[in-house]
Symmetry: C2
Subunit: 197 residues, 2 copies
DNA sequence: TTGCGCTGAGAACGCGCGTTCTCTATAGTA
DNA sequence: TACTATAGAGAACGCGCGTTCTCAGCGCAA
């Protein structure tokens, strides 16, 4: 009707969402390259023709999956942060969020790290999406750390702990990595704040 | 001649070594699945027939590459540790080793983590090799931490920092992750030892 | 009712892969 | 010298992939 309509939800949008749901589950469980477009077709019920009308290529489906994972991650961190009141607790809430995630049945590590390992070297857009996600997280940590009045060196340390916890939990299958990282984070925060106080 | 000969180096061993050298470089740079057996053939000068005489399958080449990476990693950590004298310094030497590694031109993250992301879900032997490597490292850290008289909770924290540094350096391309992890490790060690002293 | 345009299902295509097969060249033995 | 066994090069195979093409079916205008 007019040029400003931006939030109309079409039937195609619903199909796109369904495709991303299914693709995310399959990609995350088995890796991108081991899931064929034909399997995506049979699992979604969306024909190949329609699929290629919704997405120009498989790569774009991967990127759409990663974009949604980014949104879900950001919302999850924000939700965990909203349950506590101090900046210090908001920093620690990151690891509580991780702890919940790690205990999910289908947890298989960070989808970005996995995709980066599989495709980062050959698909630049995947490497970029992964870098963006990590940079966004690092900036979030830096902002909350700044709110807490912590010195600048603290935030990268806390981000590294979060990354390491994800990798360790994924590979070793030990969900406790979140708790270990949380305890380390608390020590680092206290040390940083103590030296400041 | 007799049944006890175990260290005879044959011409095939030399070929195997060359194949592993080349495969490691290509797999690490571009990922396993994007490197074909034919490319391995042309880069090594070893015919496909010979290659399949040396290794029963591509998967076995991947596992041989990972096994050698395990050895190189272990030797590198031991070498870094040998340059210092106290258990505390041996723990910190881990991050000095990482710092050197991260600044290499072709650094592209931990080969195990990358392979795990690419193949861990579909090739059980790759997942197992990765778990073994990480478990071996965790045990090393635990041993040195015990030598230092640190409480048991310290070692997993230090291992998580090392994992996180590798991931962060690989994705964000920031070699400084090693230095940040080292500083965090020093803080954690001092806090753990301080509470013990 | 008839014609027309469009949507979409799924068959088909071309390519590249891991692996195997064939055939040649050579070295050792009588 | 003649024969045989072996090794090896690289052509060939079968399959599975991402993507494209064909054609049937349907809604709508006149």
């Amino acid at each position: 009707m007019d040029a400003t309509e931006t939030t109309v939800i079409t039937a195609d949008d619903a199909l796109r969402t369904r495709a991303i749901d299914v693709a995310d589950r399959l990609f995350y469980t088995r890796g991108v390259q081991s899931v064929s477009m034909d399997e995506l077709r049979s699992e979604t019920g969306i024909s190949l023709k329609k699929m290629y009308a919704l997405f120009p290529s498989k790569e774009q489906i991967v990127l759409a999956v990663l974009a949604r994972r980014h949104d879900i991650w950001t919302a999850g961190i924000a939700d965990a942060a909203s349950r506590v009141s101090t900046p210090r607790d908001r920093l620690l809430a990151i690891y509580d969020f991780l702890a919940d995630w790690f205990t999910e049945d289908d947890f298989r590590g960070c989808g970005f790290i996995n995709s980066f390992g599989e495709l980062g070297a050959t698909v630049p857009a995947v490497a970029e999406a992964t870098r963006d996600q990590k940079a966004s997280f690092q900036q979030y940590v830096a902002e909350v750390a700044a709110e807490a009045g912590a010195p600048a060196y603290l935030a990268p340390q806390l981000a590294i702990l979060a990354e390491g916890a994800q990798t360790t939990a994924a590979i070793s299958g030990v969900p406790d990595a979140a708790g270990q990282a949380r305890a380390a984070a608390a020590t680092l925060i206290d040390a940083a704040m103590g030296s400041r106080a």
